[in-house]
């Protein structure tokens, strides 16, 4: 997680510097009825020239003492849904001192955080009433991007407690570590604003937005999602596909299989219609990725080994080194059942005799037993 966050942080920092070196740092003016430029802090791709129009929905966020804040749906010029948006005004209270926070939030069609715009006239402020700096806004964006933030399961009170000193000689107390991690995560001097914003973005609204999309979605949007680089969009589309869809979008699905995240690859592997595994031509693109996909996906591919052609088995036998011990055992068992053909045997011998191969001994044992 930290690794991922660090990368994201560096990217955001780079992106922020690159962008704001060229533009006015004063912040964007929110447009009432739509959007014709990329939100200032944004995680989704934005095509130049995009113009989105806001449509009202029946959904809203209830904010204490302020009331309902409407959720709008931003659609493109072809009326296709693109984002959800809400102009939020919410009180943020710390130690009895309350002030209003104004922020425009964006969500994806599946209710994930997409970005935010600040209000140039009403900037976010910290406990000491200093305005957020650009670095602070970027840090807030980074925090909101992390759906599994440390703020997720905790009440605000738990985050401000002082660490209990440990009496033992053991590893650092968790409470101290937690407080440290919270400090690293949130904008300094703005814990309450960060906490409120995170819970607005990731609260119960997510499920409602997803449901709303599910109930209204058209085939066109689903196909668009499949072609998106967003993994959740890809999963959403694949989850709705039937055999005909899989066949129709075969090339894109194979492309996702190669380039997507392990979870999506695994889903594809487990849910490809049976017809794919009966048709060598349809299988090939997936087997071609065998050496390059992650270990979990490779295991799922190996579950279909009995459907693989001899040519495929031969090709796999040139990639024995990428397999884990158990994967290698599965492969050997299958070729043992099929009958060991000469080209595969040759590859096995080369592998077994290669001292650098950790599992050469397993192949050796197999060959010994097979040739008995």
């Amino acid at each position: 997680m930290r690794y991922r966050l660090l990368n994201l942080f560096l990217f955001v920092l780079w992106y922020g510097n690159a962008q704001f070196a060229l533009t006015d740092i004063g912040g964007a003016v929110l447009q009432e009825n739509g959007l014709d430029r990329q939100p200032e802090f944004f995680n989704m791709p934005w095509e130049y020239g995009t113009k989105l129009v806001k449509k009202e929905t029946s959904m809203f966020i209830e904010v204490d003492s302020i009331g309902k804040q409407n959720i709008g749906l931003l659609v493109d010029q072809r009326e296709r849904p693109i984002l959800y948006v809400s102009d939020i005004e919410t009180p943020v209270c710390a130690d009895g001192d309350c002030k209003l926070m104004n922020i425009r939030l964006y969500w994806t069609l599946l209710g994930d955080y997409a970005g935010f715009d600040r209000d140039s006239k009403l900037p976010l402020t910290k406990n000491d009433h200093d305005e957020f700096s650009m670095a602070d806004y970027l840090k807030l964006h980074l925090l909101l991007t992390d759906a599994n933030s440390i703020l997720k399961q905790r009440k605000i009170d738990e985050l401000i407690e002082k660490p209990k000193p440990s009496e033992g000689n053991g590893p650092d107390a968790l409470s101290g570590a937690t407080i440290k991690e919270v400090k690293e995560t949130v904008v300094s001097g703005a814990l309450y604003s960060c906490y409120v914003a995170w819970h607005l973005v990731h609260g119960q609204l997510n499920a409602k937005l997803r449901e709303y999309t599910s109930s209204q979605v058209t085939d066109e949007t689903v196909f668009q999602m499949l072609h998106s680089a967003n993994s959740n969009y890809q999963m959403f589309a694949l989850g709705r596909f039937d055999e005909a869809n899989y066949k129709e979008h075969y090339a894109r699905i194979a492309n996702i299989f190669e380039t997507g995240i392990p979870m999506v690859r695994g889903f594809i592997c487990k849910n490809l219609p049976e017809k794919f595994w009966k048709t060598p031509k349809l299988q090939n693109l997936f087997w071609n990725a065998f050496a390059d996909v992650d270990i979990n996906t490779r295991s799922l591919l190996l579950e279909h080994l009995n459907s693989a052609s001899t040519e495929t088995l031969e090709r796999i036998s040139t990639h024995l080194g990428v397999m884990t011990k158990n994967q290698l055992k599965i492969f050997l068992e299958q070729i043992g059942e099929n009958g060991l053909v000469e080209p595969i045997r040759k590859n096995l011998v080369v592998f077994a005799n290669d001292e650098k191969q950790t599992y050469g001994y397993i192949v050796n044992q197999f060959l010994e037993e097979y040739e008995l």
Binding site: D172, P262, N296
Partner: protein
Amino acid sequence: MNRIVISIFTFFLVNIVGAQDILLEAESFDNPGGWVVDPQFVEQMGSPYLMAHGMGETVQNATTQVSFEKSGQYHIWVRTMNWAPGEWDAPGRFNLKVDDTMLEKALGLRSGWGWEYVGETKIGKNKSAHIELVDLTGFNGRCDAIYFSTSDKEPPSSAKKLAEWRKTVTAESNAPEEIKNYDLVIVGGGIAGCAAAIASAEQGLKIALVHDRPLLGGNASSEIRVHTEGIYGNFERILRMLDTEHYPNGHVEAEIDQEKRDKNVKSYENIDLFLNWRAYDAKAENNTIQYVDARHTSDGKRIRFTAPRFVDSTGDGWIGFWAGAEFSYGRESVDTYDEAWEKHGELWSPKEADNAVMGSSVLWGSKEMETDQDFSEVPWAMPVAKSYKEVKGEWQWEFSRNDLNQIEDAEEIRDHMLRAIYGSFSNAKKEPENAKRKLEWVSYLVGKRESRRLVGDHIFTFKDAVNEIKFPDAVVVEKRAIDVHYQTVLEDENNPDFISEALFYKGIQYYIPYRSLYSKNISNLFMAGRNFSCSHIGLGGPRVMRTTGQMGAAVGFAASLCEKYDVDPRDIYTGYLPEYLELIESQKYRKIPESKK
């Protein structure tokens, strides 16, 4: 120690194969020195073994004395394994010393468990030798056995042939000679097993509690150090004797709770505690378990335990497995028990069933010292740790992968975690701020979350929790969120593969029925602990140890009624439920005796 005493002492340590052959089991050494006995993987690699778990500092030699029937020239083999093979020096290298001679060959070099030839030695007229294992690295070198033979024929390596050979060379009979009979035999001394023992002992049953470690508590023990979570439910009095404070996972304060737990369980005169005994077989006839066989993890002695009823609190469901109980492993498809949670989709419950499960943790920690501390280079750890840096490991240090079975591949899982730990610590040590950091404690025991789940009359699922169904036989109650983990590498290949994330479903309160605590098809088998009857998602909440402790206590009281009426576990639900519930209710108000606080 004079020779006669040594001969008597070593009588149990060695097995005389033939006139000139001796098999010396490493776990039976007179003095293991700084080496630890590791019995976790017996079912896979064949035996407990000695391991040099020095966290990077070489451990003291393990020593023993061996008597031979005849003097002469002997070939020596050591059964060992390189646990992180690759293009570097093996991490767990060691030497063998015979009397005053250090044999040159470094050991611990081969991939996969098997025999390494050490060399030859001459056994003189005194027909005795002093043997030492000399650790060279402090990084988990391992020795299962040493074989001396006047012949140059290497013993078999493959698991099956080795098991047969071992039986032959040790001339071991099929059945243990010693038989012990109890009212209830409980296998597994985690929190669930301990609670079952106390509850049934309180009701007057004669109990055998068989546990393969020297300390009670399983994942809560000071050897693994996971704190207990969940509520007490109906069994606060019993669970307070066993649980832990809510210190950080991996904390040294686990030792204080360990003392409390051991003292409390040992205070019951009718609990016979078999510490360091690992069950290895259970036999059922007509779907009724007749006995459980167990072996001492060091001296190899065996006992057959007979009883009218048994409790499987092994965590891995071994007793049920051996006896032929139905069980499940992996994730059911989302439709099997209607366990969808759209928010987390496939990560929560998959469209198609698979064998992904929550992973195992190996906890660890370091501390600041007064002076700078060195830590060895660990090139063999870097392919796992990569650039990850850390100075301690909490629950997120967890490993699961779909090609690895949490039971069959537990040693590989543990070793993967050791590489993650040593590599990440080595990376952290390169930061100037960690110059004085020293590894304080690294567990070598696999802290499992999920393995086999034995099937009962009721399978507890996510839906039972969401709907907060109050079953007529609800005996366990919990408020803690359903908490299911996944590996973060599934979302991003750049993440370390040994770090997990938790998905929490927060409800109000849910109940587990008694029918999830006995086997569906083995008539006299209870289960308590993570191997109770549930789905993958159903396990997410109740897998924590106050909840599993509640299961144990519930089972203990049920067992006492089974004994009273001479009936099977199922009969308690069908015929004695009011009395059972009344018993649970009435025991709540007993005071905790001062001696057990």
